[in-house]
């Protein structure tokens, strides 16, 4: 086992992990859903009778046949949504009258296995009278048609900062504007969504690949009308989440309802095509930006307008783009920043957090605008950034958009990135190529970002405990729920370090709501920052508890008992010594638990990409990608490196490959799964160099910030800026992500940016 870098890897990488679909429960039924093939329309005549005749089918229901079926619970977590946004816009678990997104479930079939359930699905008949579908925020904002009769499609408006006075724009030496599309992305975890609901006596045990088991427990209890202690949620091995597995989805509501109604185990194992059609999407913003600077390149004002596509129902995603608005300031000292949001309902599956969750959109918009400004002022883009970074001594820093950044050294990260890349050498190579007609154009792109990790106020805490046993081992529990991040390795090591004992003696228990009454989960890159700090805290409490016990046992004052390397001893003369095992044997179980609250943290970094473009074909080849990230104190370099690498690859996905496209009818082009929606695969991964700087977060004694989303936030703008730098189109807005060959070819043949147009003053 020594050769496995992470404790969980032997299990996960040799195929002996235990996922929800691996859990065999006798008599379990498989659910399969009958799904709408149209985006928007009025449903009628659902007939499940023929399905019930299919051998092996146990039941089939439309919404009308399940009158007690509860609606999908809305989520008002973390200031991200409002009662007003959700009022009157119920999300039924099965369509009652109106289909609002393609793939929305109109009936459910339970079978003895998934094959039989799908055979049943094929026999269900229904009709949909189509309505026009709106799939862009601009179209939907016209309120023609409305998704909910009598209610606007605009579900929420928000803003941060103060409106910028016209005189600022008028009097600035340079003003640049851009329009950016943050395309809809699919989170695409290796394992799609899963739920297995098993009624046992008066309780229901729910197994699910889920990021927030305690929230799922509360939501299921509420929709069943039960007390929460009758629900147990267990998260077994989970194959990735990326933000997409934290809700009680429509299918979960149906499965839990039917398991209780029938008194039988029921499961739903989402398959890939279902997932592509009806799993939550990320991003989905149309942005307009305006940036002003003086002649020396000092930023004066920044304005960001976000039109967000939040999908068909105002779930958590309706307020998620507020993350973009709050983070609009970025790493710069811009004195005036105003960001506004309009969240618009469209005929697509709901938008939801996807790794980065609002911060990539903020970073990409700002960093593209920074390159526009550098070109306008004829300043090196690196220099423009250096002139505007918030300096290390300015922290904590209050931004005009209402964030209080905890700590940072933005110039330090950029310097390391440029040094790692050898920026000057690549600029020289770029100059050489511009003189060589045979050479492919080369571009260098920089992206400096600051993001937020941990969660929002009210959700910055975690619960946990530590318990020493008579055999000298320690069990720690916490409310986090991993989906592949390596908690089993990192957290026991952290606790062992605090206690001064061998890692092997610490065992972690997570993801089971019967193990501890409360917990939050794993999201917002919070596990190390918040749960890690909580575990450090309870480990320290365990030490104090052990000293207190030993003092009582030996008739000493607590101050007279020392703890070192898992052993308590009488400080003055070593007259009494006991290790944890002896102490527990002598004094009984030793257990501490607490709730611990962390501060919001603001990880940051600098990414630099070098690309080569074939202008005839429009292909982009990434020659180098350097990612310098700062997530404060690193608990495990291997795990953090894995996070940085994986998120950088997902960032490349947004920049170059991924994006949902839709037909005229509003149905996404996904008939061939991952042949239609292209993820970067091993063959597409360029040379990536990962480095880090360390600026501890003052928000906890541990000093860790979130490490999980860096590349999704930092990488896309580096790549897009590099392609823009290579092609120098007069209108960089031609380069909208994903930068597919057709997009790049069109930008390559468009008019070029004229060198040195000079400042507007010069022509006056």
């Amino acid at each position: 086992m020594k050769h496995w870098t992470r404790r969980e890897d032997e299990r996960l990488l040799t195929g002996s992990g235990r996922f929800v679909a691996d859990i065999a429960v006798p008599g379990c039924l498989d659910a399969a859903f009958v799904r709408s093939r149209v985006a928007h329309g009025l449903l009628r005549d659902v007939d499940c009778a023929a399905a019930r005749e299919v051998p092996g089918v146990v039941g089939a229901w439309s919404a009308a046949e399940l009158p007690d079926l509860p609606a999908v619970p809305h989520t008002l977590l973390a200031r991200l949504s409002t009662e007003e946004a959700v009022a009157g816009r119920e999300w039924p678990a099965l369509v009652k009258e109106r289909v609002r997104y393609p793939g929305e479930a109109v009936a459910v079939v339970l079978g003895e296995d998934r094959y039989r359930a799908e055979d049943g699905v094929a026999e269900v008949t229904f009709a949909i009278d189509p309505l026009p579908a709106v799939i862009t925020p601009a179209a939907a904002a016209m309120d023609e048609p409305r998704l909910f009769d009598g209610l606007s499609n605009t579900a929420l408006r928000g803003e941060a900062g103060q409106p910028v006075d016209d005189s600022v724009w008028r009097e600035a030496a340079a003003v640049v504007q851009g329009r950016y599309r943050q395309q809809l992305l699919m989170p695409s975890p290796m394992e799609c969504r899963t739920i297995l609901a098993v009624p046992e006596g008066d309780r229901l045990t729910v197994w699910s690949g889920h990021q927030m088991p305690h929230r799922l427990k509360r939501e299921l209890a509420a929709l069943l009308g039960w007390s929460a202690d009758r629900i147990r949620v267990v998260v077994p091995d989970t194959g990735g989440a990326f933000g997409s597995k934290s809700a009680a989805f429509p299918e979960f509501v149906v499965v839990a309802h039917l398991a209780v109604k029938l008194g039988r185990p029921v499961r739903w194992i989402e398959d890939r095509l279902e997932s592509m059609l009806v799993a939550t999407r990320g991003r989905g913003q149309d942005q307009t930006v305006r940036l002003a600077a003086d002649a020396e390149g000092r930023l004066l004002a920044y304005e960001l307008k976000v039109e967000a596509d939040v999908g068909a129902y105002p779930h958590l995603g309706v307020g998620l783009p507020m993350q973009t608005v709050w983070m609009a300031t970025g790493p710069y000292t811009t004195p005036r920043v105003h960001a506004t949001l309009r969240s618009v309902l469209t005929n697509t599956m709901v938008t939801y957090p996807y790794r980065g969750a609002g911060r990539p959109e903020a970073a990409i918009a700002l960093e593209r605008a920074m390159d526009l400004m550098a070109r306008r002022l004829d300043i090196d883009p690196v220099e423009l950034r250096r002139r505007n970074f918030i300096p290390p001594e300015a922290f904590p820093y209050e931004t005009p958009t209402g964030r209080r950044y905890d700590s940072g050294d933005y110039a330090g990260a950029l310097d390391l990135a440029l040094e790692t890349l050898d920026y000057a050498a690549w600029r020289a190579e770029q100059a050489r190529r511009r003189e060589d007609p045979q050479a492919l154009p080369l571009g260098i792109g920089v992206s400096c970002y600051v993001e937020r990790s941990g969660g929002e106020p009210g959700g910055l805490h975690e619960f946990g405990s530590a318990e020493a046993h008579a055999d000298g081992t320690v069990t720690v529990r916490c409310g986090a729920a991993p989906s592949g991040q390596g908690h089993e390795t990192v957290f026991p090591a952290l606790v062992a370090k605090v206690l001064g004992i061998a890692e092997e003696r610490v065992r972690l228990v997570e993801g089971d709501t019967d193990e501890q009454p409360e917990g939050l989960g794993s999201f917002a890159s919070r596990s190390a920052q918040v749960a890690g700090a909580m575990l450090q805290h309870v480990a320290a409490m365990l030490i104090e508890q052990a000293r207190t016990r030993a003092a009582q046992l030996w008739g000493l004052l607590v101050d007279e008992v020392e703890w070192a390397d898992g052993v308590v001893r009488a400080a003055r003369d070593d007259s009494a010594v006991a290790d944890l095992a002896e102490l527990v044997k002598a004094t009984g179980p030793l257990r501490v638990e607490d709730r611990f609250e962390a501060g919001m943290a603001f990880p940051f970094g600098a990414h630099v990409a070098v690309v080569e473009v074939d202008p005839e074909l429009g292909t982009v080849r990434v020659l180098r990608l350097v990612a310098v990230d700062d997530c404060g104190v690193v608990l495990n370099p291997t795990v953090v490196r894995g996070q940085a690498f994986g998120s950088a690859v997902q960032g490349l996905g947004q920049a170059l490959y991924e994006g949902m496209t839709f037909g005229e009818d509003g149905v996404p082009h996904l008939a061939n799964g991952f042949l239609d929606y292209l993820l970067p695969t091993y063959s597409e991964i360029p040379p990536i160099e990962i480095k880090d700087t360390c600026t501890p977060s003052p928000g906890t004694p541990l000093g860790a910030k979130g490490a999980g989303e860096s590349g999704c936030i930092g990488t896309p703008a580096a790549v897009v800026n590099a392609v823009t730098d290579a092609l120098r189109p007069a209108d960089p807005d031609l380069l909208q992500m994903p930068l597919t060959p057709d997009v790049v070819w069109r930008a390559a043949r468009a008019p070029k940016f004229e060198e040195a147009p000079k400042l507007e003053e010069d022509s006056r």
């Binding site: 429009g618 082009h669 042949l675 997009v743 070819w745």
Partner: protein
Amino acid sequence: MKPAAFDYVLPSTIAEAVEALGEGNRRTQVLAGGQSLLLEMHLARIRPDLVVDINRLAGLDRIDVNGNEARVGALVRHRTFESADAVPGPLGRLLALAVVNIAHPPIRSRGTMAGSFAWAHPASEWCAIGLALDATVEVTSREGKRELAVRDYFLGPYRTERRADELITAVRLPLLGDEYGVGFIEHRRTHFCFAQVAVAAAVSVRDGVVADARIGLVNSADRPLRARAAERSLIGTELPPPGSGHPRGDHPFVRAGQIAAHEDAAPVAEPYGDVAYKRQALAVLVARTLTDADADRRSRAARKGEDR
């Protein structure tokens, strides 16, 4: 993603197989490598009553070279062609250049060349090569054997002259003489996906004049295509001395690319590849592939000179 119920047979002789395929009015499908069929069945877009698995049939896993043709049995897997020596001469080299573009190694270890001709995907590399080289498809049914010329074989996307009761037993590819140079270039968004477009080319030149040109176009219409107009523009044309980099200006290869893209091709728009872009990519690829083929021819001739 589960197939609808179907029957399955695993015959041990060709006679049994065609007997099963000819049974009454059942919808039948042949299973060879299964790399397209199984996906379509999972998606329930193909719902056969009967699947006839031919993997136990003897003698279909061989490549036989008879005279001027390579006869590729119906169970020869794609990966066989990863070696340029699997088939003699420039043809072996062309197939080796093309095969690495067919999906991933696991798919190439199961999928078959004959299966590609049965499935007739517009983006099939093999089908475009078969067209360019005037290949022949051998089929057998209860009524006997037929030979189908590939030039008239493709009727549309996934539609061919083969009847559902006919089993492809082999594809016959004419060998290319040593005077040919070959090239194959594929353009796609990621390694995993189908070609946006791809081009296969074989060129022979005598005394500086193009003697023969064969150009196959992948995913350039609703079916595999041969760029006959582009070929005609080249045959009999004198080639300028080779330059460095890609051909430009009024080079015959560039002209052939334009003709292939605008006269031969009838591209079908797809997400991230509208008709204008596909024509552009085709024009570029045809010119580059011809250049590769010509360079291959010249290096081959130079090596031959050295051998003497």
